[in-house]
Symmetry: C2
Subunit: 306 residues, 2 copies
């Protein structure tokens, strides 16, 4: 588990540059923590600011490099732009167009790779031969600690919290949030959520070993690969796993827009979709992680579900 | 102008029941105050809680009655439900279905009238022969003072604010916000915004007398009738008027969803649509007033503009 001190220091560094996002009630005893309101539309700026502001000036001036399903790319480009250094991002060539265009608008340069080649590049630590300073989007402990700022805020905003629901892709968000919440309130249950259209971690923990799965989900933000190091760390901090049926997830994006007035991407709505699958009772905060959905997908989800 | 003391007292009464909504940056020097995140999806709960909590218990127990284009109806029903008293609401028979259904779900009873009959009912103070305690959705000074809580928060959240942009329907929101902001920072310019599809106040102030206009706008929340008393009060507190072209407004709803991650109704997006029509420079906060848009309208605005 990350130390509380590391999380507090990381959150402190990021604080002037990120939003203290609101927590809004959504149904009896259930709350949503609204990370889509962050700059670049997701929680990722928390970890990337925490990591970039911990670099030496020599490291920072070489520019930033990351690899991303989309949101880490936007966050890294934004952080680099704010700090005045260049940025390149390795991305799936299937990334939604708004995420690609967003990276370019923030002055970042996407490097597109097919899924298999990108996973190879990650497995072979392709970044080591590149000139920039690489920030790993989920395995970097300083990034994870920065995301932990969400957990610190949840405990302040909903002191009676008993359950925290977190979407899981690479796992960095869950590790950061759980680290903060459990350090301050060890009795809180942390629930990891994925879509049944890419239940990588759910099945890894059920079966003891990583399954072979290909993403068939609107939660593109959770399509990160298996990583043995993350497996260890997720085991320590996630108490329960849930796979949300993909149909529920599609409905959840529409419901959040109509009832919650918040635009979410598939991964972003996982925590909300999980609420109806959990036994009622304990005060629960679901982390709504991001809102970078393509307009045409949002429009079809509204048409389909309302 | 409302007194600062009246606004502070009203905001204080409402505070435990309403949200201190976030202010998010949207472009250089421009901020959005996000009232769609309030219970019932608009700012109206602020004024209705302030008013209902100022009633005697005898007045409150008679139940609440209001008249509304939609958002005041939802707010009144919610307030009555929270305080354990019945509620009826006179509404246009053209009110969007989500607003009608929302009132019923909150235990309120809509009384539907065609536009002309409803305006007659208001002109003749039809509520005086009804058993409940009537809360006027925009002409009631305690309601206006409750809305003023938005202005108090804006000055705390963006102390460098120089301009505040407010959508105007009946006028209660503008009077409350302007009262608070100008009492604390008299140099702030208050800009009232309507759609050119129902530019009632814009033309009233241009021409010196109320024009004959029929609403042709997605900003259904601004379709309130002319009222001589409101005319006086708006003259005192709104420094400048802007009519946003209806096409810009339709685009603004889509842009706010995609870029701002916030779902807004037509009236709610007026302040955002106004930003691009204003000269750049002064730090500006636009009040985003509500998010109760029908899912099919939101889907078509996304299809049309993205």
């Amino acid at each position: 588990m990350l130390s509380l001190e590391a999380i507090q220091a990381a959150a402190e560094r990021a604080r002037p540059r990120v939003m203290r996002t609101p927590v809004v009630p959504v149904s009896d005893g259930n709350w949503l923590k609204l990370e889509p309101l962050q700059p670049t539309g997701s929680f990722k700026v928390r970890g990337f600011f925490a990591a970039a502001l911990a670099l030496s000036s020599e490291q920072l001036e070489r520019g930033l490099l990351t690899v991303s399903a989309g949101n880490a790319a936007l966050a890294c480009a934004h952080v680099a732009q704010q700090l005045g250094v260049p940025c390149r991002v390795v991305m799936f060539d299937s990334a939604p167009e708004p995420k690609l265009e967003g990276v370019r608008q923030l002055g970042g340069e996407p490097i597109l790779m097919p899924r298999d080649r990108l996973l190879d590049w990650m497995g072979q630590r392709g970044w080591e031969s590149e000139p920039e300073t690489f920030i790993h989007p989920f395995a970097d402990e300083v990034v994870q600690a920065g995301h932990g700022g969400i957990g610190l805020e949840i405990v302040q905003q909903v002191p009676q919290v008993r359950r925290v629901v977190v979407p899981v892709g690479g796992g960095g968000l869950a590790i950061g949030v759980a680290g903060a919440v459990k350090a301050l309130k060890p009795e809180v249950e942390v629930i990891g959520v994925q879509s049944d259209g890419y239940p990588l971690w759910v099945r890894t923990f059920e079966e003891g070993a990583p399954p072979s799965v290909t993403p068939h989900t609107i939660a593109d933000g959770t399509a990160a690969p298996y990583d043995a190091g993350m497996h260890e760390r997720l085991r320590d901090c996630v108490d329960r796993w849930l796979a949300v049926p993909e149909g529920n997830l599609r409905r959840a994006v529409a419901q959040l827009a109509v009832a919650g007035k918040v635009v979410t991407e598939g991964a972003g709505a996982l925590g909300y979709a999980a609420l109806e699958l959990l036994p009622e009772g304990p005060e629960t905060v679901a982390v709504i992680s991001g809102g970078n959905v393509s307009p045409d997908l949002l429009a079809s989800l509204l048409d389909e579900n309302c």
